[in-house]
């Protein structure tokens, strides 16, 4: 169970304080597949980074299974069961896919090639083609995304956070990626999955949907109830005013 209380994140921009996350409260229950959605610039990715510890909040608290992790660094949160898939997967010169999966699985696990194969096949990659590939720019955006997801799967932690898995990859690649998330949802057991996404196919399989705009929760509830209200809203269809004026002559 992840509990977020009064979370605020502010940045200084051109001498002004800008509030990106505004006094936000949110509970992510165990065994739930939660999708956070909302307009661009609304604070979704910032919230994901605050949960992973990549950035520190201005105020408020983050509690994982009853333990306050707000002041913990990335490593300590990771070791307590928080995994994070980056929106832009990070590239490494010299580190190979197998190296990354071994690090993800942890020193104690001593990941074998067979296990790595399983992780890779879950994200639709054939291990023999990828296991010794460097995680660098020679891989396509879609391949990097899959490998990024595989590192989170290899960890198998309590809470997995995915920041816009669809960003930067083409539609066809994403069609295949959604299957990975459908499988994850099936095998969720007592862990919880938090995905930031705009994709309808991801929203459709959500147990819960949270809509964030202007750093606040605009709407939240069971996926089946929230999703119908999202399609066809003013946000989605409002045309540009000036364009309308031109149209009207």
């Amino acid at each position: 169970m992840l509990q977020i209380r009064g979370l605020t994140y502010e940045v200084e921009e051109a001498g002004e304080t800008k509030r990106i996350i505004d006094n936000l409260d949110l509970d992510i229950a165990d065994s739930r597949f939660t999708v956070i959605t909302g307009p661009n610039g609304g604070g979704k990715s910032t919230l994901a980074k605050l949960i992973a510890g990549i950035i520190k909040p201005t105020s408020g608290s983050i509690i994982l299974d009853g333990e306050d992790i707000t002041e913990m660094n990335i490593t300590d949160r990771a070791r307590r069961g928080v995994s994070f898939a980056f929106q832009q997967p990070v590239k490494f010169k010299g580190l190979e896919v197998f190296d990354l999966l071994k690090i993800a699985a942890g020193k104690e696990t001593k990941l074998k090639i067979d296990d790595a194969c399983k992780n890779l096949s879950e994200v639709g990659l054939c291990a023999k083609d990828y296991i010794n590939r460097e995680v660098n720019a020679s891989l396509s955006g879609g391949e990097l995304k899959r490998i990024e997801i595989a590192t989170v799967l290899a960890r198998g932690t309590k809470l997995s956070v995915f920041d816009e898995p669809e960003a930067g990859i083409d539609l066809w690649s994403f069609q295949n990626l959604t299957r990975i998330f459908e499988n994850m949802r099936k095998n969720i057991k007592d862990s919880s999955i938090l995905i930031i996404s705009h994709q309808e196919r991801i929203l459709k399989i959500a147990d819960d949907i949270v809509v964030i705009a202007n750093g606040k929760i605009k709407m939240q509830g069971e996926g089946s109830k929230v999703l119908p209200t999202l399609t066809g809203t003013a946000d989605a269809v409002m045309p540009c005013n000036r364009y309308t004026e031109v149209e009207n002559g």
Partner: protein, 308 residues
């Protein structure tokens, strides 16, 4: 048989990854003396008459054989210059493993300057691995100044892996190559300096025959107060292809000066260079920390991968 003391054995393991007496031809040099030699039907090793080094002669057509010529110094205060010449016969395909390890526990400097010349015959293929390593807690410096000259005949290929990862206080590494038509040279250098170490790496590849190609790639890490200079020049005198690249990570107060240079003397010469210097990217550390590593462990993984 090879006679080595435990420190020398450890050095040999570091530089040549050898735990037992190697298969094939070899020449071990320890504290300026011959410690063991083996020749094969195709590979002959003889000492130069003036005692300044060895000649390695590989018969034409020799395939899948290897030569190991490691040098170790475990006594303080040794200074030596060694001349080794390799004559690689036409159409052969061999692996040559060189390298030098110095353990200096004393106050005096220890220095090994190895001058290697390679005469690579037509269509021969050579993989050359050279590792340099230093250890020991003495104040005496560990100094290595290798000079490598490569003369490549038509259609020959040479892959050079030049590695210096640890413990060498001062090094000036100079490599020159002259390539005939269709010869291919690939250099992969891995260099790490720490403490107050200084390293200067100089490469010059002259492409003299149509179809020749040279690729000189260096990955470097400069930690603490260490300093590195990378000078790489590719000279195109014909229809050829040349590329040089320096990729360096700096940490602490490390300094790196990268000077890639290209000289085209023929309108059909295609030459490129790249150089990038910077600290470890913050997002790389963040990513590995989200996988459970500490910042220090993440840094180590990134450096090890980079220098692999």
């Amino acid at each position: 048989m090879v006679e080595l003391d435990p420190i020398q054995k450890r050095l040999i393991e570091e530089i040549a990854d050898i735990h037992e007496t190697p298969v094939g031809a070899y020449n071990f040099r320890a504290n300026s003396k011959l410690a063991g030699r083996n020749t094969t039907a195709n590979i002959d090793i003889t000492s130069k008459e003036d005692g300044s080094g060895i000649d390695i002669r590989i018969k034409p057509g020799t395939k899948n054989e290897s030569v190991h010529i490691p040098v170790v110094i475990s006594a303080s205060g040794i200074k030596e210059t060694v001349y080794n010449d390799f004559y690689i016969g036409e159409d052969s395909d061999v692996v040559i493993v060189a390298g030098c390890g110095i353990d200096n526990c004393g106050k005096q400097d220890s220095q090994h300057d190895g001058i290697h010349r390679f005469f690579v015959g037509k269509n021969a293929h050579v993989k050359y691995i050279e590792k340099h390593y230093g250890s020991g807690s003495g104040d005496g410096k560990r100094i290595l100044n290798p000079q490598t000259e490569v003369y490549m005949e038509e259609g020959s290929a040479m892959e050079m892996e030049m590695v210096q990862i640890k413990g060498v206080d001062s090094t000036i590494r100079k490599t020159t190559a002259k390539l005939a038509a269709d010869a291919k040279l690939l250099v992969q250098e891995r260099l790490m300096t720490h403490g107050e170490q200084k390293a200067h790496s100089i490469y010059s590849a002259e492409l003299n025959g149509d179809g020749a190609a040279a690729d000189v790639v260096s990955r470097a890490v400069a930690k603490d107060n260490s300093y590195q200079k990378f000078d790489a020049c590719v000279i195109g005198n014909c229809a050829c292809h040349g590329h040089t690249e320096c990729d360096a990570i700096i940490m602490d107060y490390g300094n790196v000066l990268a000077v890639p240079a290209l000289e085209a003397n023929n309108v059909d010469a295609e030459l490129f260079h790249e150089a990038a210097i910077g600290k470890i990217a913050g997002e790389q550390l963040d990513k590995l920390m989200t996988l459970g590593l500490t910042a220090e462990e993440a840094e180590e993984q990134i450096i090890n991968g980079f220098l692999k």
